[in-house]
Symmetry: C2
Subunit: 119 residues, 2 copies
Amino acid sequence: MRLQISQLSKETGVSIHTLRYYEKEGILPPVKRNEKGIRIYDTDDIEWIKFARCLRQTGMGIAEMKQFAQLVIQGEETKQERIRLLRQQNRRIKAQIEQLMSYTEVINHKIELYSLEEE
Amino acid sequence: MRLQISQLSKETGVSIHTLRYYEKEGILPPVKRNEKGIRIYDTDDIEWIKFARCLRQTGMGIAEMKQFAQLVIQGEETKQERIRLLRQQNRRIKAQIEQLMSYTEVINHKIELYSLEEE
DNA sequence: CTAACAGCTAGAGCGCACTCTATGTCAAGG
DNA sequence: CCTTGACATAGAGTGCGCTCTAGCTGTTAG
């Protein structure tokens, strides 16, 4: 698959502005260009964007995503470090989920209180 | 319980600045003052701060928290509306949890891929 | 030919939720 | 007395993650 930026934007739900911003920030390896200087995203780029969004939406910051991207660019020998970062991210997600579950109980408790007060 | 701002800050983990900011924004009903103009938070205030943090940390925005606070101030007749808002918040939390769970799977999948490539 | 459109860059601007600064008052301790 | 420290206010500043603008090039359709 080879997409231009607007198609990729539709495909991923990431705005054109953000796609260029991610590249500028080094979150995306420099994307190949055609002879006109237009970005052509290949399958790997597309997969990486989707994965990057997954990291982002689970609360990873831009700086850490950049760090991860740099590791990918550096190649094979950084695999262990990448696994370490991903495991850390999963631990954070786990903590988030647990926090959310406890908060949802607090809110449920409040709803019950309100309902009981109703006389 | 009657606390001054620095004690409340320690009690709740919310910074002094943020406590005053919340009050200014109307997220906190105007706090009683002593004769010197110093804020004295009572048990209700303390509970409300803790609950507000719960809303905040589950992704409710400042504007909606303010709306909720205004309903509390308006009193009994807004109870149904408050319940509605809290149920909505719980639905959002549920969606967040589901999203996080699916993303954690994606990340796990990536970790496995990395581990397999290892030869 | 020209207008509409898609892309490009550099850099400015924005919204949110804080967070901090400047300046001042008041009470207690050395 | 005077410094220290907790509190107060109004308003400025910050960091993050976008998001948009200005001004440009090149392609395509009428």
